[in-house]
């Protein structure tokens, strides 16, 4: 049986010692990190810290050193995210930190994705995601993006306060099949309808499925606006995106 001291990376040792409480999780993580090579421990540590630049650099380096993509996924990215999940469950970190860790994971996956693609694993679909004009709330959208990426979609994040023209330009530039719009305010929600009308005027409405979501949005609103679907949260956003993607296949 491995001991905590068998883990070379001091940060990982501290994380296990300070934040993990359940004996089976402590044991499992000690066993895991004690057997993985230092480069993978370093990737996991950077991911837990939410340092996307560092995960980017270390993943690139690991691949250049000949480490297999699956090993990087298993022993670096997924192993690190496992600790993140535990810390979040135990209220040691919160949504902003989780999103930073998800961004760090994306930074590593950026180098893995071409290998997956080479192996015949293509993204389910390309999705554009943005919060509508006048709205600066992005947590819901960011959770959706995290879930979509984790479920095998390629996502282009258009950010917050996205104008109709920016949505149209992005459809033309990225050739996405799904467009996701979010709004948190009742006052900005009509801008989703405005954007859909702008898509019709720009003759790109038929190029994409439009899904909408956000706290004040309902199925009724989605129907009124002429959207193709409504997701009440990040989990239903993924189910909806899968359903819409299936219609393009």
């Amino acid at each position: 049986m491995a001991e905590l001291s068998d883990i070379g990376n001091e940060f990982i040792r501290q994380e296990i010692e300070e934040y993990l409480e359940r004996p089976e999780e402590i044991e499992r993580n000690i066993e895991l990190f004690a057997r993985v090579r230092p480069a993978m421990q370093a990737i996991a540590a950077a991911l837990i810290e939410g340092e996307d630049g560092e995960v980017d650099r270390l993943t690139k380096l690991a691949l250049a050193d000949g480490i297999e993509a699956l090993e990087i996924m298993d022993d670096g990215l997924i192993a690190g995210m496992g600790i993140v999940g535990i810390k979040f469950r135990e209220a040691m970190i919160f949504v902003p930190e989780v999103l930073a860790c998800a961004r760090a994971m994306k930074a590593g996956m950026k180098y893995i994705e071409p290998i997956l693609s080479d192996s015949g694993v293509e993204p389910i679909a390309k999705v554009l995601m943005g919060t509508v004009k006048g709205d600066l709330h992005d947590i819901g959208k960011n959770l959706c993006i995290m879930m979509l990426r984790g479920s095998g979609f390629e996502v282009v994040d258009l950010g917050v306060d996205t104008s109709e023209d920016e949505f149209i330009d992005a459809i033309e530039e990225h050739k996405a099949t799904i467009l996701g719009m979010s709004a948190l305010l009742t006052t900005t929600m009509p801008n989703m309808g405005k954007t859909i009308e702008a898509l019709i005027d720009a003759d790109v409405r038929d190029d994409v499925f439009v899904m909408v979501g956000g706290a004040p949005v309902t199925q009724e609103f989605a129907d009124d606006m002429g959207a193709d679907g409504y997701g009440k949260d990040a989990l239903s956003c993924v189910s909806l995106a899968k359903k819409l993607a299936a219609q393009t296949a």
């Binding site: 297999e68 993509a69 699956l70 996924m73 298993d74 997924i78 995210m81 496992g82 993140v84 999940g85 979040f88 469950r89 209220a91 040691m92 970190i93 919160f94 949504v95 902003p96 930190e97 989780v98 998800a102 994971m105 071409p114 290998i115 997956l116 080479d118 192996s119 015949g120 694993v121 600066l136 709330h137 992005d138 947590i139 959770l143 995290m146 879930m147 984790g150 479920s151 095998g152 917050v160 948190l184 009742t186 006052t187 929600m189 009509p190 309808g193 405005k194 009308e197 019709i200 005027d201 706290a215 004040p216 609103f221 009124d224 606006m225 002429g226 949260d233 990040a234 989990l235 993924v238």
Partner: protein, 111 residues
Amino acid sequence: MSKIDSEEIQKRMARISEMFSEMVSHAETVSQTRCPYRDRHDLCTAEFRCRNQKPPAAEGERHPCGHDGNFDYRSAWESQPLAHGRAKKKVKEIREGAARRRSESRRKKAD
């Protein structure tokens, strides 16, 4: 670049998806009493103004969150029936206006 067994990749993707699903579900629960923009240092990460933001310790730093965590802050975010009605009316106007514009433009082209 070496190829990988696609089944092995799918297993990892399923694992990642499962981990994220758990985190998102937990985020939903946590967000009932704690604002999702509030980080572990109790600082606000939002890019917009919020009445719960306290003055930052120094200029350029994040605002500490002043919410007491004792009630569901989202009640302040939820839309009022009247506001919902106004939004619904606006959506209708936008759609009707756009349809009218398009029909006029088609008519002009035909002329």
